[in-house]
Symmetry: D2
Subunit: 334 residues, 4 copies
């Protein structure tokens, strides 16, 4: 950590600050310049509150050198984390596809889709039972009934379930879920993250609409700080000024996160674009960029979907997509 002192700081102020740092067990190096004094802090600075430091009147700026995320940081955990869910693995070269409808609507719908996507090679089934909707008047999901329908489908296909939680009080309903998703709007619902850190579920965290990769990793850190290190990160599109697409899928997040963290990263081109026609090219692009998996919305009749139909593929479109994804995976591994 580096602190730059303001011009005009007295020697006494500087020395007093340095003593304070030394009291925290840090090594202190001072570089005195014509206009500014630079203080280099070495040691375990992860517990130093950077906002507090910046608030001191003699400080011009503070810069962390070591990232504030410890558990998620690749520097301290150089090998890829491999997340094993019922024998299916994410990360470390393993690639998985999670597919299914945005919302669970009926037994016929969810079981039908599950069988189709399983046959096409998707080992995981997704489906929302609790839906975060901008309007209180829109369909909010089938809740407990939706989770039961997911279990029914799982019994038939053997696919582990990926489904979203919105309220920690609903956790008992998620017993049969394998991967619990934290949605983009809850990425910084720190209480929810903390509670999920105490469970033994795999947690899939979606990047918030206007959040940085560092913030995404800090949210992973909240879960990991509670002892749960089985986390999958998900790039699902960020908000930009573009309106032709619903969001802007930031695929550079994939190789960038690979550098920063050992956790697996999947991409969701369905929410990332909001348009069914763009899902295939962006799914292929995500695979080419090195994603550890994909999350794709599939619905038997997208035009009748109760939410997000505009971005869902039909099962036939999904079949074709999987064939192409397979070829891209071969191309980058060759």
């Amino acid at each position: 950590m580096i602190a730059v002192l303001k011009p005009g700081t007295t020697d006494q102020q500087r020395d007093s600050l340095c003593e304070w740092f030394k009291g925290m067990g840090l090594q202190v190096h001072v570089s005195q310049g014509e206009f500014h004094t630079i203080i280099g802090l070495l040691g375990d600075t992860s517990k130093v509150d950077i906002n507090l430091l910046e608030s001191l009147s003699i400080i011009e700026s503070v810069k962390r050198i070591t990232e504030p995320f410890k558990n998620a940081n690749r520097k301290f955990h150089t090998d890829d984390s491999v997340i094993d869910v019922g024998g299916f693995k994410f990360g470390g070269g393993h690639f998985q596809v999670i597919a299914g409808p945005c919302s669970v609507e009926s037994e016929e719908q969810i079981v039908g889709v599950a069988k189709r996507v399983k046959a096409a090679g998707a080992n995981f089934l997704r489906g929302g039972a609790f839906k975060p909707r901008t309007s209180p008047y829109d369909f909010q999901g089938l809740h407990a009934d939706g989770l039961k329908l997911l279990s029914l489908a799982k019994q038939q296909t053997g696919q582990p379930i990926v489904t979203e939680i919105m309220n920690i009080n609903d956790l008992p309903l998620f017993e049969d879920a394998d991967v619990i998703q934290v949605g983009a709007r809850n990425m910084q619902n720190f209480d929810l993250l903390r509670e999920l850190g105490r469970t033994d579920k795999v947690i899939l965290i979606k990047r918030g609409l206007a959040n940085t990769l560092k913030e995404l990793l800090m949210s992973a850190e909240y879960v990991m700080a509670g002892g749960n290190e089985r986390i999958i990160l998900c790039e699902r599109g960020i908000r930009t000024f573009e309106t032709y697409t619903r969001n802007t899928l930031d695929l550079s997040a994939i190789p960038m996160l690979r550098e920063l963290t050992h956790l697996p990263v999947v991409a969701d081109p369905s929410h990332g674009t909001g348009k069914a026609r763009l899902v295939e090219p962006m799914a292929l692009a995500a695979a080419a960029a090195g994603a550890d998996g994909l999350m794709i919305e599939v619905h038997p009749e997208p035009e009748r979907a109760l939410s997000d139909g505009a971005q869902s593929l039909t099962p036939d479109q999904f079949d074709r997509l999987m064939a192409k994804v397979h070829k891209i995976r071969e191309a980058i591994q060759a």
Copy 2:
């Protein structure tokens, strides 16, 4: 609501769609052009799911004419809502200042600040007991103890309390709180909003970091849909590309929201700028723009604050600010 059909839509598809609309009790007007067909829908369109409509293959685009927020909409409630909290009023020409530290730290701190800001004219006391922090390793607030200290201060000054909730399970601890704040990162925590709609507390909703005014009003709508119409909106700065300031306080939100809604709007220049030196000019600007109130962080020793010290005023600075705010209020009312 207006729906534009894609070129190539058949007459049969168009008629079938129109029948569907009529079945929903809507009036349907069709304008047939050379390239496009435009369908105008009149009646109560607030329950139509715009995403569902957009997902139909024959639809090029859909546009709402009536805003999707009903209860918060000024069109259906032309007079300003006046929110009365213990005799102190927001809105309809009434102006209130909420002041206090970012975090409650000790009895001495909170009672001392409360007395000072009360003396300077702040009728409301703020202080955080539950703090949303980006890092799990940063100070998270005193929780129940913090709320008790706020009550102690209230007993001495008579100031209603404004404090943030992060988890609906903590609600029983907020019995003595008068205004419950929903923080920027929880603005779209829809479950929390829904639950607060069932309480009889005044709810202060802060605009999210990358949220639009329409989204802010939809979040108010979540609370109002539950029957609680006592809501105060708060502009606290949005995320932009600027880094000299912590956020960008969007003061145009104040007059714009006044047009769109009857709910009172306050501004928080402390979080909005993140720099104590900018709080005074931006507080004056907010008052000049017509805000119904201000929310200001004050700390006896900002440099020792456990969170957000960088943006806190000293009590002396707050005294000077209040004198100037008073003059601006006189100037715009003259």
Copy 3:
């Protein structure tokens, strides 16, 4: 075009507005609702100034149905435009790689790089002679000398040259350039675009840092309105809140532009990421998303580059990249 009238508009005001539209040769359809009146305008609305219309006091909102770009619009030109530059083609299934250093520095540098990238399969040579730099104190390019060095390289490799113009007065120096690039910061330098519309050069237009796809297409329209229809669009990364990457390469722009326009689209992962390590995965992703070409920075000694060395590949890295791009192209064409 659809215009929505405000509640309270009188019949006389409405009729007067309709007469005005009819005077412009437009067909007018009126739908009268309880709260709003909707006016549908059919015919050639491309010359209607939407800002003027919105400024009328009786208008609540206006929405274009037909996009304001005519020449660039795929609706009126359904086949892909194929841009042929010296026998090398972009678009319509043709794929080209443009490679070379950010700045031309010396004969040895530019000729050396040209030969290497040519051998690896890049048919086009890029190199900047005029460099837009944020600071007036940074290296600004070799100007006329740089263009002469590019010509020297072209004589040896036969590669058409792609190079940036910043000032229309420099046009005479660009006689030997084959593709003139308009940089991101000049994307809305409308005078420059208009002048380039009068030349017979191929124009490569880079998307601005905070510009939408519609704005990019309107900039293409400026050139096309002057009669020059040989345009290549380039996605080079947009500004977002992310700071680990220099920009955010918006690959969804590739399939989205393919829908909107017949013009070819290339991607620049070097500027798009700002980091050499991310160039390969993002180049592969762009190819998988269906780009018509790539623009890649290659420098013999990136660490000695006078500008943008951080994002340049070495010739050896470029060789490996080209082999992988070839495989991805095969995978998506299979």
Copy 4:
């Protein structure tokens, strides 16, 4: 300037880098930590190309301590710059209002508005003769004729003229203009800025739609580096996700720029909001925030304006605005 070396950098690499810095006349301080080495550079680092430095393989990150703008920096020029234009002053406590139509349309229009705004207290007349329009099919201004009409108005009212340049080749036409405006879309047209640095006109630079304050100051630096130090900065709204307002007027830019630079700062609430109804509250807010002036669009018949009518005030509205601005100025100076 501070450079942080990557873990694994050898002593030889470090020493070689330090020698290179010393060769540039810089003082070098090395702090060796467990994971990282920090190099502090003192002396004149303004000529160091930060991109070049970041490109070195052993560098983890680089941070400037001294801002890269020298001439515009308040640190090296502590007193406010006072810009005197024909006896009317901006800065150092002086406040000016620039008013007039978006576009010059006719003699009657411009002379009529000039007289009205002069009478209301606006010492400066604005009016566009060259208009940057997103569409090539929209009205582009009267060009030379527009400038002649501005001169006519100036002869009658004595008001100095503020008008926008888009192309340096038009400079001879601007002989009678007193303040030349660089529009938001040309803020980083570096060639234009450089040329304006060689003129003796006052230059008003508008902040670009997605540009930071540092970038705005670097653009000022381009003009100042050429010897022209008479610059006025203008906050005119930035692009955000909000769509109810055309732009988001960032009023915190006013006190923030006051800290960073000695140059005067004016606000343009007309472009900043795009809505006439929001101009008054935002103009008052800008004055309260400490602006050195305002730029306001006034048109005799906003509904007939050829551009930007939606945001223009009528002369009567402007009279009322000026009375209120006067009261706010008194309030903050009291």
